[in-house]
Structures are given as structure tokens and as C-alpha cells.
Amino acid sequence: MPRLIKDERLAYVTSRLLTTVLIVFGAMVLLFALTALVPGDPAKTLLGPQASPELAKRFITEMGLDQPLHIRLWRFFGAVLTGNLGVDVISGKPVVQLVASVLPYTVILTFSAIGLSVLIGVPLGIHAATHRGSASDTILAFISVAFIAVPSFVIAIFLLLIFAIWLDWLPVLGTSRSGEFLDEARRMILPTLALAAGWIGFIARLVRSSMLEVLGEPYIRTARAYGLPERMITYKYALKNACIPTIAILGLGIGRLLGGAVLVEIVFARPGLGRLVYEAVSERNFPVVQGAVLVVVVLFVVVNLIVDLSYSAIDPRIRRSPGQGAGA
């Protein structure tokens, strides 16, 4: 097939952008299918026993739920294109406003957790790889697997018991009353740790296996033969290549952490997008569910797009079509 775009980088970026748009489109369709399949009458769930049948009917009309699915989908698409995610039927506020009020909490928490995972996981992985078979490697392997296996909300409860109750070092609640920066930062420690724990273990294991693979490469043997210091070989030559799979996995990590954030937000009573969606689903508050989930999807695909693009910048082989590989 003749290629329309000659520049391989531009072709790659274009194809990734198109994929991103398709994913968002697919997610929107899926969202609508889910809201149609979820049992329960939103009017009754939201309005409670005192609502008259007339009010319930008007409420359903207001939410647009009396329309066929394809009409609702079409309207939603049209609204989203103009930046309108609908109106929360409970508070009467635009969904955009609701999402905007809690989004920073989730973004800060998720990115803090990713940052912490990298900061702790990468050095641990390097240490395990460079001390293969040692006692510390075995202990790290055990701890890493334990962190990966234990759900974040269980870790959250343990952290609360240890640091907030027994040691009395840190607060229980994940947000402050005052909104002061230092207080907020202090309250971020436990939620971030709880959310990051599993990923610290995962990244440590991933970096360890990548490092071991890279450290066995011929160019590393050559570097050693030249008498370069081990530290330089590890950090300058091996780590760059060993980190490529880790960078690739970070995009997925954002998605996993966004999911994991729901439980952490509930345990630490922190505002957040996950909690907003969780409550909206319980209440059958469909405009908020659709709007908030769409934002999560967009956040996820944009982060993955950025990761993919940066990944292709680090490793040019990624953006070459089959048959155009290194040896071609």
C-alpha cells in the first residue's frame, strides 16, 4: 500500500492521534451502552420516596432518558464537542464545574504516586539487578511481590493504623480544613504511599529484569573491557535502555492508578474523580457518570499518547513500519 505521509515521525504521530480519537469515541459509545444496561430507575433513586410521578417523569425528560439511545448519544456527542458535559440534576451545576472541582485532587494524587513509584522503584530495581542473588535481592523480591499482591485500600488501612493511630505522626483525613499548603502536603503522604505501593514493587521488578537483560548485552561487556567504572556502565549505558519498557508501562500505570484512586479516596476521605464516579453510579446520576468517565478516558489516552510519543523519541525503531526495521 503506498504511504500517504512520507515523514515517518509525522506518520506515526498522525496514526497515534487518530487512534486516540477512535478510543475516545469507542469509550463514549460504551458509556452509553452501560448507562442503558445498568438496572434501576434514576428518578426514584435520586428523588426519593416523596417525588410525585409527574416530577419523576419530568426528571427523566430533563436527563434525556426518555429519548432513544442513538438520539442521546448524538446529543451527547454534540454537547461534548462544544465543551458541555451536561448538568448535574441534583445540584443543578454543570458537570464540567463538578469535574473541575475534584479533578486536581485526583491528578495530584495519581502523579504523586507515579512519581514516588519511579523514585523508589527504579533504584530498588537497579540495586536488585546489580546484586543479583544476594540476600537484599531476595528480600526486595519478596517485598515487591507482596506490594503488588496486596490491594491499595488494604495498604491504606495499615498505613493509617501505623502512622496515624499508633505513631500519631500523620493525619487520618486526606484533606485539610484550612487548605494550607503544608498541611495539605502532609495529608498527601499516606494516600500517595498507599496508591504507589503496588507500583513501587511492579517497577522495581520490571527495572530489575530489564537491567539484567541489558547488562548481558555485548556493548556492556565491551564497556567493561574498556575498564569503564561500573557505576558509569550501570547508570549511563545500561539504565537508559533498561528504562524503555518502564516508560511504556507508565502510561498504563496512570490508568491503573486512576482506578485504584477510588478506594484510596474513600479510605482517606479525599475528594476525587474516582469517588465522584463511584457515588454518581450508586445514585444513577448519569450525566455526572458520563461526564466524569469521559474525562478519565481522555486523561488516560492523552497520557498514553504522550508516553507513546516520548517512547518513539527514545527508541526510533518504534515508529518504523514493519520491514523498515533496523536491519532493513
Binding site: V38, G40, L55, L160, D168, P171, A269, L276, S282
Partner: protein
Amino acid sequence: MSISIDRRTFLAGTATAALTAAWGGPALAQQGPRDKITVRIDRDLANLDPAYRTGPWDANVCRVVYQRLMKQKVNSAELELDAAEKIDQISPTEIGFTLKPGLMFTDGYGEMTAEDVKFSFERIGLPPKGGQKESAYKADWGGLKGVEVTGKYTGKIVLEKPRANIFTTVIGDVSGCIVSKAAVEKLGADYPSKPVGTGPYKLTAIERQRGATLTRNPDYKGPAPALQEIAIRFISDPRTTDLALRSGEIDFAILAPAVAEPLKSVAGLTVSEQPSIAYVWLGMNVEKGPLADLKVRQAIRLGLDVDQMLAAGYNGKAPRLNTLLPPQIFGHWKEAPVYKRNVAEAKKLLAEAGVSGLKLKLTILNQPAYQNMALVARALLAEIGVTIEVDAQEGGTYWNAGNGDSGKNLDLFLLRFNGKHDPNFIMQWFVSGQTGTWNWQRWQNKDYDALFAAAAVELDPAKRGEMVVKAQQLMDQSAAFVWLTNEVNVLVHRSWLKPAGVPGWLDWQYDSWGLGA
């Protein structure tokens, strides 16, 4: 042993020390009384416009941000004057009122007048005007003809027919809150999060999922509340609430008995049990298969042991309920039968009904108390030859289980409704017209309907009380209801804090909360 400190170690140590100093070390619980407290609510505040409030958590804020013509006395369901200087029952359908002069709305919205009263009541009770949305609480003001303004501070509430509960459940409740007409019209969609009232507190902060802050209103004309500031924190998880109480980050919460029990041993915390006016029962669909037979329903009632179910569901802390109305509610049937488990009699009734190998589904909300009670019920009914399948559903699905035609498929179910201090409010869900809506039993009784309607307009308490008791007797005769409990609210708070609430503790009275020694 020699210790060498390189540059990296020194920098790391310094950074650690600086961080430790910055966060100020351990967060210790405050020991003594203070006039700024933090209260936990288990649902997020959503709408502080009385007409569109979403539940008790919103209503409790409305109670102190706004004034009503009348309000409940401290720790009582009895009413006293609030914004009204005088209130008279002119006739069975007319109620005159005179406002206290000088009641000032916050944020510069001026003085409360009879026009504000008219606007506040009619926007709930009358058909909506000019694109306004209908209130979910329209039924509260059911039968309202309108409010006539007769002077700056005077007016007359006119009803289509007498209402026995007009004071207790409407004028003295949240649908009787008086809003500023000017503020509602000016703020529009922002009003639910920027309420303007004349009450003892004003809302100074609100944020989704975090909660709100109430601050003493300096312009309030009544006695100043003891607490300067009340922070309301939304914490959905009971375990987090437990930990936050222990750490001193919150000062008050209502918890389930099982969760509250361990907190009794925590120094500085007081745990007290307050009977609730919510009512819980096991209902039976009288239209469904063998359950249409009275003897089968009676057999199930005799096959159950309510005390055992309560021990499992509420740690034995909840009082047993034997009739629809809890003891605190006017019209409570004191002589209601207390059914004791009788396996032999239950089996005999099933045999008389010609039923054997009966299999039924018990639909419940997926919460620990109901799950535990359902498991006990299953074991108990197995002994009389009835096999129970427990169907635990999440809220959104569960609350629609009795809706429309899907309600016809229900067998047995555990239900819990919130009450108010009025028999008609509680009785309303069991009339024939509620079949397929909230009357999940699908029990239809014309005599009950007539008693309900008569009690609603009967202004003589003695006569009304008789009607209400008769209605409860009819429910008992149907055997469609196995009354379980009116529940218990377990209050956990700092020992120096003296919370106040209307009996039943659905309605909190923040403005009467005090500080102890």
C-alpha cells in the same frame, strides 16, 4: 565505630530535619472544649435550597441557615416560635402568622417579610412558574391554596382542606424554611451552594466531597449558638470515621452499633445510644404465589425470631419494634402483639395451606446489618421447611426492586424507611395508591386507606390517635409485615461536646449544640 558523613548524607539529613520541622510533628487530638468543631456526615452535601434538598444531611444544614415560622425545642419534637412572633389557627384551613421584625438575611439581602414567606412556601407547594423546577417535596405542602400577604410582617396560609400534621411536618420542618426571594431570584443556579437565610449560622464554605463550614451568624436575632464554627466533613467510610475520631480530627459522628462499640474504651470519647424513628421490617408480597395465602404469611411470621435477627444485625443494641409506629411517635400501638417463634404452629399453618417445599427469595440491601439478619432468617425458616435464597443488591438496584411490574416478582424483602414525628407521614407508604411504588407488599386495604385519609384531616388528637391505632391493627391482621426494629443511633463524640437533636436523631440541631465542662 567511626562515623563518616559525606555531602550527600549531610544534605539528606538536613532535608529530613527541615521536613520534620515543617510538618510540626505529631497531630495530637485536642483535649479540652473548643468552639470550633468538626462533624462527620456520611453523604455529601448536594443542595442547600430547601425546595430541592436531597436528604437529611442537606436538611440539617438548612435547619440552621434558615429560620422557620416555628421550630422544634431543644432535644424535643415539640414546637416553639422561631421567625414568627405569633401564629394562629384562624380556621381548620387558615393559619395566620406575624413575623418578628428585624430578621435580616445574610449577604445584604435585607429584612425578612411576609413576601419571603409566601415565596418560600408557594415555590414548593404550588405548580412551578416561569421555568422553575418542581420540588420533590411538593407533597409536604399538599393541599396548599396559597399564602396571602396581609402586611409587611403578616400573612395567612390557606389550605384546601384541614391538615393535622401541617405544623409538625411542614411549617416546623425544612419545607417550612424561609428563603430570601431576592437571593433566590438573583443567584439562580448558584443558590443551592450559596444559601441566604436569617438563621443562627451562615454557610461560609462548601466544596464537593469535602463538606462545608458553618459560621455563627452575627446578625442572628436569637440567642447566639455556643459554637463559633462547625466544619461538616463528608466521610463515607465508617472505618475512616472511627480512626478520625480516635485521632481527634473529627468531634462527632453517628455510627452503626458494631462500629461504635470499640470506641467506648477510647478516653475522651462519649458513646451514647439514641432510639431512632426509622423503621425496619420484613415484608411479604401478598400477590405472589403461596404468599397470597394468609396462613403462609402467618407461618413465616411465626417461623422467625425477631430477637435473634436483631442480635445478628445490630449486636443486640437495637430495640424491637412490634408495630409500624415507633414508641416516640403519636399514635403508637402500645398493645401490639409481640410474636414469639413457634416452629410447630408455623409448620401446622403451612400444612393447612397445603404448601410444602416452599422456596422464596429474600431481597435485601447489601449492608452488613441486613445481610446478617437475612442469614439468620434463612436458617430459621429452613426449620419450618421454607428455603430462602438471599438476594443482596446495591442501592440503585435495590430501591427500584418494588417498582412497577418488577415489584410483582418480589417474594420477601427487608426494608428500612426514615420516619418523621407524624403518624400520617409514616403511614402514607402503605396505602393502595403506593402499590408498585413504595408499597412493596402490594397490600391493598380500603379500610386502611380510609383511616389514613381521615387521620390526615382530623384535628382532634384523641380521635386521630384511635384511627392510627386501628390502621396498625389492620396491618397486623394482614401478616404481610414482620416488624423488626426502629433502630438505634449511636452517637460518638468528644466528652466535652453536648450535641442536640430531635428525638430519633434524624434531625440535628446544630444551633443548640453546647460545650460541657
